[in-house]
């Protein structure tokens, strides 16, 4: 029965993939939604069971590894089943939204899009529910593929196809580590089953365990767009917005966090690895927040925000607080999806021709519901009471201050910037001047209800999800007190960020353009993500390609193949020299023969 959670998106995928062209795009979309919805229902059911008693489902024997039989299966405990429910819920909502968003493309094989979405959901659920590392890896790569296909959905655009390539390759770098993490764990534990691993985690060598954890974390870094494998995530925004919302904000990128949380006992037993996790998370949070402050792309700002929030989650994990990380993941799924959907709504209103915040403006007049949704999302993201972000982020802030003042300051700074940049985007888009006037003739209008309803649903979730903190902590077996001082602090920090944005972008206290001009080096540095993207593209990728070509032209063609091909002229040349002996004149023949005989005689006599 529980298998149906997985099967329903899979069946939807297969049906759409095989018959999509025949049944049409609308039917495909409905199938996809249906698959998601069923999956959601089944996961709710499974959750209800899992909350009382964790259980696992064995699927089939997959692979014999010498003495060990690797069998695939599903594992339902509170963590996985709740996450599955959240994932399927958000996914279903976004699927519905996408019907409206993609409607103008119907008739152009849009069924592919729904096939990919279903595939994605299947793979994501595989990550969440698998009871062994290899199963996780299956889903891991599966979501990578779905993400690749979805980012490259508008593949005729160079931007999209490049972004998809980059996403897949960087993810593969992570997967490389992940795969070896799996391998290393196998030799540590003699098993790949999560339960076996948890059972034996205290008996193994700490150093090797740390190594395995780091390798596994490498996979998470790739998937979650953390430093240093981060550049693909902003570029992934080339995909359709529902994709950004679902994959690159709510679920897929969070898989890294989920995986670390899932394997938390391993990490806990190797504290050194947790330190690395915290460091990477913290750095990424700061880094992405900085980058977000100077970007103007509607979706990229939110994407950087995603990176930043994921960084915070990793920080929390690294600091030993699994519950708050996972809770933040959950609330983040709601409000970040909401933000993206709102952004998508804006883009949709401009017929997918607008990408930069300065091309919009003063949209609250035209799109009130979108404005409201965005506002809810932004407030949640900024961590303002009582939105869900407040509850989850507050836990992280508290943990950070508990561990060390420095971490706390870092988180606060990040929170401040988060509030600033998200409201900067909101104010520019929904307040301010109507920059779109000179380009767009018609006025933007509110999106159709098929898009609006999902936004509303998510808004509700973004508001109320935070109140489940206690319950969530309960099912994970952790209880955390709310620290009033910390809560006040973080709300103040958030409000301060909003205030700054308000002063600059609504009141016009400082002309932002002039400020950018004045701080140009800093601005550029931040916008270029400290030049990492350029470094990756030009130096690493470009260099790899360039040197590959150079080596191909030199070592391969000239040296190796050159030697091979040279054998023919060499043999022929030597033959041409020897050939001179056969000069055609009898006297010379006699001469050479006599000479040869002499040599033979010489050898005979003087050979000892």
């Amino acid at each position: 029965m529980e298998v149906l959670i997985l099967l329903s998106p899979l069946i939807a995928f297969l049906l759409i993939a095989l018959f999509g062209a025949r049944i049409g795009d609308m039917a495909s979309a409905l199938l996809c939604v249906l698959g998601g919805a069923f999956s959601f229902l089944f996961s709710l059911w499974a959750t209800s069971r899992a909350l009382s008693e964790p259980f696992s489902v064995k699927l089939y024997d997959f692979l014999p590894l010498d003495a060990y039989n690797l069998s695939l299966g599903l594992f339902f405990d509170p963590l996985s089943s709740v996450t599955a429910s959240v994932v399927t819920f958000v996914a279903t909502v976004i699927f519905i939204y996408s019907i409206g968003y993609m409607h103008n493309l119907f008739g152009q094989w849009t069924f592919k899009f729904y096939a990919y979405l279903s595939l994605f959901l299947f793979a994501m659920l595989l990550i969440v529910l698998s009871d062994n590392l290899l199963g996780i890896f299956f889903g891991w790569e599966g979501v990578g593929l779905a993400s690749y296909l979805l980012i490259g959905y508008f593949h005729t655009q160079k931007k999209a196809s490049n972004a998809s390539l980059e996403a897949f390759v960087l993810n593969r770098v992570g997967d490389w580590f992940f795969l070896f993490g799996i391998v290393a764990s196998f030799y540590l534990f003699g098993s790949l089953s999560i339960l076996d691993i948890f059972a034996r985690v205290s008996q193994v060598d700490k150093a090797l365990l740390g190594l395995a954890c780091l390798l596994l974390f490498g996979g998470a870094v790739g998937k979650s767009g953390q430093l240093p494998l981060h550049t693909w995530l902003p570029n992934a925004m080339a995909g359709p917005t529902p994709v950004s919302a679902l994959l690159h904000a709510a679920t897929m990128v969070a898989a890294g966090v989920y995986m670390v949380a899932r394997l938390y006992p391993m990490f806990e037993s190797a504290p050194e690895s947790l330190r690395v996790v915290a460091l990477v998370g913290g750095l990424t949070a700061l880094f992405a927040a900085l980058a977000a402050t100077s970007h103007t792309d509607i979706k990229k700002i939110i994407a950087f925000s995603t990176m930043s929030q994921l960084g915070l989650m990793f920080l929390a994990l690294g600091l030993g607080d699994r519950m708050s990380a996972m809770f933040h993941l959950t609330t983040h799924a709601f409000f970040k999806a909401l933000l993206f959907l709102s952004a998508g709504s804006v883009i949709h209103a401009f017929h997918h021709h607008v990408h930069y915040i300065y091309e919009t403006g003063r949209l609250k007049r035209y799109m009130p519901i979108t404005y409201a949704s965005f506002l809810v999302g932004a407030l949640a993201l900024a961590g303002i009471f009582p939105f869900s972000g407040f509850w989850s982020k507050d836990l992280i802030v508290a943990t950070a201050y508990e561990k060390s003042f420095l971490w706390g300051v870092l988180v606060s700074v990040v929170s401040f910037m988060t509030a600033y940049y998200i409201f900067r985007e909101g104010f520019v888009m929904f307040h301010g001047k109507e920059h779109f006037r000179h380009e767009q003739k018609e006025e933007p209008h509110e999106s159709p209800s098929v898009m609006v309803v999902p936004m509303l649903v998510l808004s509700v979730m973004a508001v109320v999800a935070g109140f489940f903190e206690g319950w969530y902590g309960g099912i994970l077996g952790v209880h955390k007190e709310l620290h009033v001082d910390i809560a006040v602090l973080s709300v103040v920090v958030g409000l301060a960020g909003i205030l700054v944005a308000y002063l600059v972008y609504v009141k016009g206290l400082i002309d932002p353009q002039k400020a950018y001009e004045a701080l140009k080096p800093l601005h550029t540095t931040l916008k270029e993500q400290f030049f990492t993207e350029r470094f990756y593209h030009k130096v690493l990728a470009g260099g790899y390609l360039f040197y590959s070509k150079v080596i191909y032209m030199t070592a391969e063609r000239q040296l190796i193949d050159g030697v091979v091909n040279f054998t023919y002229p060499a043999v022929k040349g030597v033959g041409g020299v020897f050939r001179l002996l056969q000069a055609g004149r009898l006297n010379l023949y006699a001469f050479f023969m006599a000479f040869g005989f002499l040599m033979l005689l010489f050898i005979t006599i003087f050979w000892r």
Partner: protein, 491 residues
């Protein structure tokens, strides 16, 4: 049962004779397809009846052939062989299916392919050195003519390079065979080419090393390993599609098969001694040829380099001296056979339609031939080791097994995972996705491109479905392969 194997081996040859005698195009096509299907079903039957828990060779048939030289007709299969035989017979069915539209001298074409099938099947089932070498070399002539007669522009160059190169390798192999046979004669007084006879010996180290190198050179050329690989891209680039399919899927496997069947069990000590060398070459193959692949603009050449890269994984796993790694290496042979066949079919199809292999001339094909785009993607994913397809299981097993004794080597080799994705997707992007480079003229012309025809689709489905089966339910396959790995590793 044991006669079935021989029947399957020689049926294609008989078919080739018939094709040569009757000389009717349709007859040739139908007969070839029919015979290869029959062979496939025989192999399937044998595969299904294979007992993976029993030791030793099965379906063994032994007849004294040349008693004075100790040569016998001795065939039989172990787990690896029967898997490879199944894959080979499948690939040949696909090759014939794919070639149904061949018009140019089709009788000769099909006759050569049928002869090639006999040689390929023979190599995998021979249990006698002489018989093995007979088939091993017997494949040279048909393949030479397939490349030379139906190839593209530089076919003569490619065919000659293929022939001379592989012949160069195989004479070394011949000397190696002669050495160990003579050694067997010297110590037992019995001249025998029988494989099972020689399995019982332990050779002195010196002989092991020499013979290992001789065998190894022969196999390395065929695999091909770096740096004796340069014949392969040229041969692939020039060969006709079905030729490339067979070349990549089956012929390359002969080398790795040879390593597993001959080098490892016969020269265990030398194999251990040469591990660093083989590993170094494998790593160079994996990384260097991946770089070569991404530097290409010719899709077939790229796929050819990717083949070399994957064979590097196979050699790595073969010599990791670990059960899982060896399982993975053998699994990789089959998986790569499927994926490379499908990739070459895709490339060949593109050429058939667009008449170019160059990425610069291609782009945006997803819009014009969507079915191909799907199958191309799937074959590529099978190639780069995407979970759920056969390649992943193989790579996983190889890395897992290699990591046990050689963690650093395995980890470095793992970079192939990244690089292979890079070159395949780079190609895919330029061929299937990106449209901005295309001229208006092309777009106009391509509007009416015909997508996959029925026989194309069928071929693809056969291959991809097998890849899925092997990727999703590897258990029985690995069990059967393990039957070989266990005795090879002496466990």
């Amino acid at each position: 049962m044991e006669n079935l194997l021989s029947l399957a081996i020689f049926l294609p040859l008989v078919g080739a004779l018939f094709v040569g005698i009757v000389r009717r195009e349709n007859f040739s096509k139908v007969l070839s397809l029919g015979i290869s299907s029959v062979v496939f079903f025989i192999m399937l039957y044998l595969f299904l009846n294979f007992n993976w828990s029993a030791q030793g060779f099965q379906y063994v048939k032994r007849i004294d052939w040349i008693p004075s030289l100790g040569i016998s007709y001795h065939v039989g299969v172990d787990g690896m062989a029967i898997s490879l035989l199944l894959m080979t017979s499948l690939v040949f069915v696909v090759a014939f299916l794919w070639s149904l539209k061949v018009e140019d001298r089709s009788n000769l074409y099909f006759a050569l392919f049928l002869a090639l099938e006999t040689a390929c099947l023979g190599v995998f089932s021979a249990l006698d050195f002489f018989l093995f070498y007979l088939f091993w070399e017997g494949m040279l002539i048909p393949m030479y003519f397939i490349i030379g007669l139906w190839g593209h522009d530089r076919k003569v160059y490619a065919a000659n390079k293929f022939f001379v190169y592989t012949f160069f390798g195989s004479v070394f192999l011949l000397l190696g065979l002669a050495s160990i046979v003579v050694y067997g004669y010297l110590i037992t007084g019995k001249l025998s080419f029988d494989y099972t006879f020689h399995m019982g010996f332990s050779y002195p180290m010196m002989l092991q090393m020499v013979a290992f190198l001789l065998f190894g050179l022969g196999f390395a050329v065929k695999i091909p390993m770096w740096p004796v690989h340069t014949w392969l891209p040229d041969a692939h680039v020039e060969a006709p599609t079905a030729g490339s399919v067979v070349l990549a899927a089956v012929l390359l496997k002969m080398g790795t098969f040879g390593f597993v069947r001959y080098s490892l069990p016969l020269f265990p000590d030398a194999s251990k001694y040469f591990i660093p060398l083989i590993f170094f070459l494998s790593l160079v193959a994996i990384i260097y040829t991946a770089m070569m692949a991404i530097a290409q603009t010719h899709i077939k050449r790229l796929i050819a380099y990717s083949s070399i890269s994957h064979m590097g994984v196979v050699t790595l796993g073969t010599f990791a001296m670990d059960l899982n790694a060896l399982n993975g290496a053998i699994y990789m042979m089959i998986a790569h056979g499927l994926s490379s066949a499908a990739l070459f079919m895709s490339a060949g199809f593109i050429y058939d339609r667009v008449h170019s292999y160059h990425m610069d001339d291609l782009g945006g094909l997803a819009r014009y031939v969507p079915k191909l785009a799907v199958f191309f993607m799937l074959s590529g994913l099978a190639g780069i080791g995407f979970p759920g397809l056969a390649g992943f299981v193989a790579e996983f097993l190889v890395f897992l097994g290699t990591y046990k004794n050689f963690p650093i080597w395995a980890f470095i080799a793992g970079v192939g995972v990244v690089l292979s994705a890079a070159y395949f997707l780079y190609m895919y992007k330029r061929v299937i996705f990106e449209e901005e480079t295309l001229s208006e003229y092309r777009l106009e012309k391509w509007r009416h491109l015909k997508d996959l025809e029925l026989h194309h689709t069928l071929s693809f489905i056969l291959i991809i479905a097998s890849a899925f089966v092997m990727g999703l339910y590897p258990y029985p396959f690995v069990k059967i392969i393990e039957q070989t790995s266990r005795y090879v590793l002496g466990g």
